[in-house]
């Protein structure tokens, strides 16, 4: 993040210079986005199965949602427990808009429905934000929780709007067809989501690098000092909140288009928690963090929920693990290595990666042992009537026999003890790499 600005702010002389550096700047700004656009276009050709396409669509929605959440948490330092309100209401208004368009034969193509979500998210962001952003910190977090509960409970009362238990459904193919697209096949929906995902990513990235975006960081760091340089932190927080609502609304509308169904669970605590988890696991300190988090969390949600009933337990463990051992998230861990890469410390870096791989073996063994223990306990306590055996990693385990239990515990404890012995090795390799990088920096 800040390293990008480094190059562009070097000297005032560069500003008065010829158009050549400007052109180079434009290319450098655009290049990553062109790469992302190409990746979005090519991905469904690589992962072309129906389920893969569904997963990719969900990832696109989650990326927008998680990035919008990070405008609050990462950029402005506002911990919200109710961000799904704007996602869900965006979804509901989008689906009602779709049904109205179908009913009245209005000339609005499906492609533009996410704008309805954007408007709804912004509107509710303005309404609820005007209350909640008067305060920061714990007070803000509590108000966001209260507002989340308020909307979730009204969703069960206001049945006309929220559709009660079964929710509100639509048929996305019945809207005006433009360019012969009826959005029946998932691939067309995927590209619609990918397009809006890219637009939102670029917009949110650009907002970070505006006077407002920088003041969000300043308010996060020291709201009081921001007041003494002319800024009202309440206004900064309010604007961040409203804009985060806008993008969450887009994500909600995309979800409504994707599922053709929204129900009250969409405004509830579960998606509010999930988006917090995605942003945090990915890393709130980098723009790329929530993107990584959204991809991982969506992938885990899809695959884990197929494999085990207690997938949420593993989510909880993942979250605790990240909070305890990598509070800057996966992106933070990756970014730690950027200085090494910059310093061209390739040899120590490759040695470091090698030690990671060595440490990974016992870590995976520990994880396998842990999973086996959890699954066997779960099976014995909840599903014992289904028979004595479970299938785990393509191995059939007899939960009534003592052997798999011992094997699992040996894996868990033995693996962990071995894992701990790799820590000093990794630490030494890290130290060497940093020393090497610093040495290289001094020589320059």
């Amino acid at each position: 993040m800040s390293d990008v600005t480094t190059d562009t702010v070097q000297l005032p002389a560069a500003a008065s210079g010829a158009s050549a550096p400007r052109y180079a700047d434009a290319v450098r700004y655009a290049a990553p986005w062109i790469a992302v656009a190409v990746a979005f276009a090519v991905l469904p050709m690589i992962f072309s199965s129906g389920s893969a396409l569904t997963t990719l669509s969900l990832m696109g929605i989650m990326i927008v949602f998680a990035l919008s959440y990070n405008m609050l948490l990462g950029e402005t330092g506002l911990l919200s427990f109710g961000h799904a309100v704007y996602y869900g209401l965006g979804g509901f208004l989008a689906i009602h808009a779709m049904n109205t368009v179908i009913h009245d034969h209005l000339p609005l193509p499906l492609f533009l429905i996410p704008l309805v979500g954007a408007f709804s998210g912004l509107l509710f962001g303005i309404i609820f934000g005007s209350v909640s952003t008067r305060r920061a910190g714990v007070a803000f977090a509590m108000i966001s929780l209260g507002l989340g509960e308020l909307v979730a409970s009204s969703s069960l009362i206001l049945r006309g709007f929220f559709g009660g238990e079964e929710g509100v459904s639509t048929n996305r193919t019945k809207l005006l067809h433009v360019f012969g697209l009826n959005f029946g096949p998932q691939i067309q929906v995927y590209y619609l989501i990918a397009f809006w995902c890219l637009v939102c990513m670029i917009a949110m990235f650009a907002i970070r690098r505006t006077p407002f975006g920088r003041m969000c960081n300043a308010v996060r760091e020291n709201a009081e000092r921001a007041q003494f340089v002319g800024y009202n932190p309440q206004v900064v927080r309010f604007m961040a909140f409203a804009l985060a609502g806008l993008f969450a609304g887009v994500a909600g509308a995309l979800a409504a288009i994707n599922f053709e169904l929204v129900n009250s669970s969409m405004v509830g605590a579960e998606p509010s928690g999930l988006v917090l988890l995605a942003a945090f696991v990915g890393g709130i300190g980098n723009f790329i963090g929530p993107v990584i988090g959204a991809i991982i969390v969506t992938w885990l949600e899809v695959t884990l929920s197929d494999m085990t009933d207690i997938w949420q337990l593993y989510f909880g463990l993942l979250f605790i693990g990240v909070v305890m051992f990598a509070p800057s998230g996966i992106a933070g861990l990756l970014m730690m290595h950027v200085p090494l890469w910059r310093a061209r410390a390739y040899r120590p870096l490759s040695r470091l990666v090698l030690t990671y791989l060595i440490a990974l073996v016992p870590a995976l063994a520990t994880l396998a042992g842990l999973i086996a223990v959890i699954e066997m306990i779960y099976h014995r306590s909840v599903k014992a009537s289904d028979g004595a055996t479970i299938s785990l990693f393509h191995v059939t385990l007899d939960t009534t026999s003592v052997v798999p239990w011992i094997a699992a515990i040996v894996l868990l404890i033995g693996g962990f003890l071995l894992f701990r012995r790799t820590w000093p090795v990794v630490g030494a390799a890290w130290h060497d790499a940093i020393m090497y990088a610093q040495g290289a920096g001094k020589k320059k």
Binding site: A15, P211, N217, R225, Q227, V229
Partner: protein, 249 residues
């Protein structure tokens, strides 16, 4: 004649039953360098907090260039042309030196809450921030996180953030506190330079700095100004010597 930069009229501030500021009236004309001295706990920082809008006075009024700003929030007072530094360094710790200065420049150049203009393309912001960095001699530390600067560098950044918005009235709260003699001398040179053509009010314990810089000195003791005069006469003031200089020197 234009209105004075700052006019305090019978200012009081109580915290519960404790009276910290007990009727301060002070007029600082435009362009003056004014020092406020006084023993610890006299209420000097509280007085700054009242002027800059951090605290609301219990009674009395604060006028800025003729306008009543009593009880207004800090950002309004800042926009009216007053900027202040803090005794305990008060910067944006996890932002780079460059971002610290740039954030302090934005409002005064009229960018307000703009979320549609790329900040890196704003040449006036960049040029002004460059100039400030150069002035506080932190140009080669620009990418360093403010929180990991040395103490003296943080104090320089504190002054940089304070002057970045080009405020006409500047309040400095112990700018040389905790500095070595050499660092303090550099700080004085910096303050002299940046207060050129502005109104400066500073709280300072170092009498060398005070008598070197100030056009006028006010002595605050137990929430009241007991003397306000040019340095030469403050030195000879009997009550001041008893209350402050006598014990200090």
């Amino acid at each position: 004649m234009s209105a004075p930069a700052i006019e305090l009229a019978d200012l009081h501030k109580n915290f519960g039953a404790t009276k910290i500021i007990r009727g301060v009236s002070l007029t600082v004309p435009t362009g003056e360098r004014h020092a406020i001295i006084g023993p610890n706990g006299a209420g000097k920082s509280t007085l700054f907090n009242l002027i800059s809008g951090r605290f609301t006075p219990t009674s009395g009024s604060v006028r800025l260039r003729g306008e009543d700003v009593t009880g207004m929030p800090p950002y309004v007072i800042n926009r009216r042309g007053l900027s202040r530094s803090f005794q305990v360094t008060n910067i944006f710790p996890r932002l780079s030196v460059w971002e610290n200065i740039r954030c302090a420049v934005l409002w005064s150049l009229g960018y307000k809450y703009s979320f549609w203009r790329g900040i890196d393309g704003l040449t006036d912001v960049r040029d002004r921030a460059e100039a400030i960095l150069h002035e506080i001699e932190l140009s080669d530390r620009r990418e360093v996180q403010a929180g990991v600067l040395t103490y003296a560098e943080q104090r320089a950044l504190e002054i940089g953030v304070t002057i970045a918005g080009d405020a006409r009235i500047i309040l400095l709260d112990e700018p040389s506190a905790g500095m070595s003699a050499a660092e303090a001398a550099r700080a004085v040179a910096l303050i002299r330079k940046v207060s050129q053509g502005r109104t400066l009010i500073m709280i300072e314990h170092d009498m060398g700095v005070v008598f070197d810089l100030a056009d006028r000195i006010s002595v605050l003791v137990y929430g009241q100004i007991i003397a306000s005069d040019v340095p030469a006469r403050i030195k000879q003031h009997r009550a001041v010597q008893e209350a402050y200089l006598g014990t200090a020197a």
